[in-house]
């Protein structure tokens, strides 16, 4: 294995006309920011508009305490199933949940439960994206397997651009995965027409708090 590594690195160096690695020149292009879209509305408004354009839905709430009722309303709109995964996140666990809900915090239940509620670390106004770093508070299977994903996002956590995410999640603290999720799962693989609900959540509902 180390031989293959050496062989490839040597071949690359030879192609570049040198025998040892040299420190790369500075990234001169990085002196300018990349051209990016701009907008006049507030971040959360732009976030909502972009999310809705890709078939996601968004509901504004004034405070965190309103989350459980909003989740219950969402489930009532779907039918009689009251099973709900609640991510093992102190923010969610600290809320008062209605007794009508049959709650679980176990990732294994993601295979059977129809809906999950999780928190987003950040939102991105540029694209209407929720940012989901993996970790003990946010097991990825909960955000992928249930048909319905409800994401709690605080307005103060909405950043403008993709690059801003890496100001808030420093390189040294990156978890195993950071998923940028923008709308429900979709595919265009059948006759190039767009359909939602391929493998991930069929619906993505964001509760924007504050």
């Amino acid at each position: 294995m180390t031989d293959a590594r050496q062989a490839i690195l040597n071949a690359v160096r030879q192609a570049l006309g040198r025998s040892a690695s040299v420190e790369p020149a500075p990234r001169d292009y990085a002196a300018q920011p990349p051209p990016r879209p701009s907008w006049r509305e507030h971040g959360p408004e732009r976030f909502t508009r972009k999310l809705e354009r890709v078939a996601g839905s968004c509901e504004r709430l004034v405070e965190l305490a309103a989350v459980p009722a909003a989740v219950l309303r969402y489930l009532e709109g779907l039918g009689d199933d009251r099973r709900l995964l609640v991510a093992p996140d102190p923010l969610l666990q600290g809320l008062e949940w209605p007794a009508a809900l049959q709650r679980s915090t176990h990732p294994q239940d993601a295979r059977r439960y129809p809906a999950a509620v999780i928190t987003a670390a950040l939102g991105i106004a540029e694209t209407g994206t929720v940012v989901l770093p993996s970790g003990p508070h946010r097991p990825p299977s909960m955000q992928l397997l249930p048909d319905h994903l409800i994401v709690v996002l605080r307005t103060e956590d909405v950043v403008d651009y993709v690059e801003d995410v890496w100001q808030r999640i420093a390189a040294g603290t990156l978890p195993r995965t950071v998923t940028f999720m923008t709308g429900p799962s979709r595919t265009a693989d059948i006759a190039q027409t767009l359909h939602v609900g391929a493998h991930g959540p069929r619906r993505l509902h964001v509760l924007l708090v504050g």
């Binding site: 490839i8 051209p35 059948i190 391929a198």
Partner: protein
Amino acid sequence: MKSTAHLFPEQARAALTDENLQAALRFAKGGFIDKRAAAVARYPDFETLRERGRRIKDHTLAHLDVYLERFAAAVEARGGHVHWAPDAAAARSILLDICRRAGARTVIKGKTMVGEEIGVNAALEEAGLEVVETDLGEYIIQLAKEPPSHIIAPAVHKTRAQICKLFAEHHGSPDTLREAPELVAEARRVLREKFLAADVGITGGNFLVAETGTVVLVTNEGNGDLCLTLPRVHVVLAGIEKLVPTLDDAATMVRLLVRSATGQDISTYTTFITGARRQDEADGPDEYHMVLLDNGRSRMLGDEFREMLRCIRCGSCLNHCPVYNAVGGHAYGWVYPGPMGSVLTPQIIGLDATKDLPNACTLNGRCQEICPVKIPLPDLLRRLRALQFERGLIRGPQCWALRLWGWLARRPALYHGLTALIARLSPRGAARRLPLDSGWTQSRDFPLPQRTTFQRAWSRQAKEERRHD
């Protein structure tokens, strides 16, 4: 995958009369082009973004050794295993080894073009493993036992009716023409079982970030994320050219990629994978492997085809290519079709076995105009044609005609005199048949020279203009 690129003319001819294929191609073409155009028009300064993308890739390629070392060190520092594969055979045996050690029986895959390039499915199946493609398009063509015909829409050549038939055969569902949402739901149900049972998940990687050892994976279905979350083992397969220096650079590249590929502002899932599962994480795989494939790339880095290594596999050059749109992807006979394929395939499997590919091009230049990283595809194809000529791969009348033309073109006076004479003597209109060039006139008429030569017409016009000034 075994190449049939040497059969391009026969395959192209068959494709032109394949009604299903022609219907599917007609359906897809406008969609791709319009969606990209709308996304680009919405962007404040897409040209500057393209230029930045080009510079990011050029910078990375010029320091590829260092960035590869940094990337590998960062992956290993976070508990991942890095494997280096000089060629396709090495990559296959690395994958087999990983599966064997894990005691794996079933493997699920996200869409990976590098996987196609090294023929991973056949190798794993031969070793007795069950391999299931989970990208819907890849799944469809796996059922049909066909290779992909487009690098981002592998089943673009299949009509809905054909997909219904395939599903009926393999899932035992009703053999009627059903609506797409029903088909999507059926595939979701069938594949969900596979996801939950699989031992190993294999995905590609769209970008590899050197500073953090992060793999960026861009998908819409969510299948890639399931592949890297549920099985015990996750393996990423990627070419060594996929490096970018920083996470910010990756942001620029993703903006270019999704707009060029599907006309989206961002894909539904853009996932950044950095190392193995941490101790406090409740789910995710136990093992994480990264396979870095060379397979001809380091050679291209050192020769006149380096620019091709900027390619981010967006598929846009396929969508804008009149030849691709006429014959589809399978005619090209290997993994990578269209303009990018006609450059890459000869680099990877050799010029001898692919001699028609560089010529399957009208040099209209649209691919270069839309390529998000500004690869001069027509120039590279021209260079390949020149190489074919130098290496004596062009023989017979074509070769003599080129030599004669070359000789003449270096003698301007003679050239002008002779062409003027031919222009004056030749009949007007268009020829139905031309001696020595039936290939051209089989499907279209050949326009005959106007009364004069281009140079004469040009200088006359220039004179007129001067007079009017």
